[in-house]
Subunit: 151 residues, 2 copies
DNA sequence: TGCATATAGTTAGATATAAAACAGTTTTAT
DNA sequence: ATAAAACTGTTTTATATCTAACTATATGCA
């Protein structure tokens, strides 16, 4: 039970926060370089997702499941993104409950500027660990969560 | 580059959130059972830390480094905890910059009720994985972070 | 047809979180 | 001695996050 191998939840949380933080810094640097809005990592991911799926219908609920955030968080984030002019949220006739998400020109511009940075981040994130290590890591974090949930 | 072994930061974040969530639920259940305030996981950790170190001087900056949260977040959390009556924050003569943290009786009572739940959480968290797996996990998450930071 | 249930999204309230700018206080170096 | 630098904590501003209660709509079944 030595300090080194004792696992604290807040320590893991800290590593994750640090990882996010590095990504955020790189995105801010790119945005400043290119003279575009400084967007958060999550905004960047959502913009990228909408760009990739611009030929399909994407609704708020899809963001919820894709990024595993609560419904109300989705509302908040997307409202803010709309206010900043990156997306529009449009009611559709087929189902009045849904709001379809459309990337604006401004959103698309941000995507084109940040795509490389985000891709670099993802690539680096996936190249730091070997394939084997990455599989192990995913296995372990899921085991941890399941073990805790079913305990 | 198949979906299964592709590592997304938000996926990891999601696992961590889920883990925290399980702990939070268990703490709320305990608090309801015993008729005490419902405290957050972080409040529980801080209360436990102050109880363990009640013979030592603990300042706000110690919370900052112990739990790896920013200075302003520490201010917010501790102010809230003081408002709820779990702690007091006292200026000391030796150094006017410091605020010493004192666990109140109410804080100590919460500690005595939640200690078992928190310890159970920690124990389970540390028994889900074998020693070997735990070491591997810590190694991998640090490698991930360092690789990203120095890339 | 019509009611119960499920689904999509919003709002309110609470907490967490960080960066930046700030105000004192203490230490260090010259 | 004093000026610069470092340290500790606060405030402001902005964002993220959840739960619970809510509105509105759609679907399914009896």
């Amino acid at each position: 039970m030595c300090e080194e191998s004792d696992l604290k939840i807040y320590s893991i949380g800290h590593e994750i926060k640090a990882i996010n933080h590095v990504m955020q810094r790189k995105m801010l640097a790119s945005a400043t370089d290119k003279g575009i809005d400084k967007v958060t990592v999550m905004h960047g991911w959502i913009i990228g997702y909408l760009f990739e799926n611009k030929d399909k219908d994407v609704y708020q609920k899809d963001i919820e499941s894709k990024f595993a955030i609560s419904r109300s968080t989705v509302t908040n984030i997307l409202k803010l993104m709309e206010k900043k002019g990156y997306i529009r949220r449009i009611s559709v006739d087929s189902d009045a409950r849904l709001k379809k998400l459309i990337l604006t020109d401004k959103g698309a511009e941000i995507n084109s500027v940040l795509t490389q940075t985000i891709a670099d981040n993802e690539t680096r994130f996936n190249s730091v660990l070997t394939d084997e290590e990455r599989k192990t890591f995913i296995y372990l974090i899921r085991k941890l969560r399941n073990g805790l949930e079913n305990g």
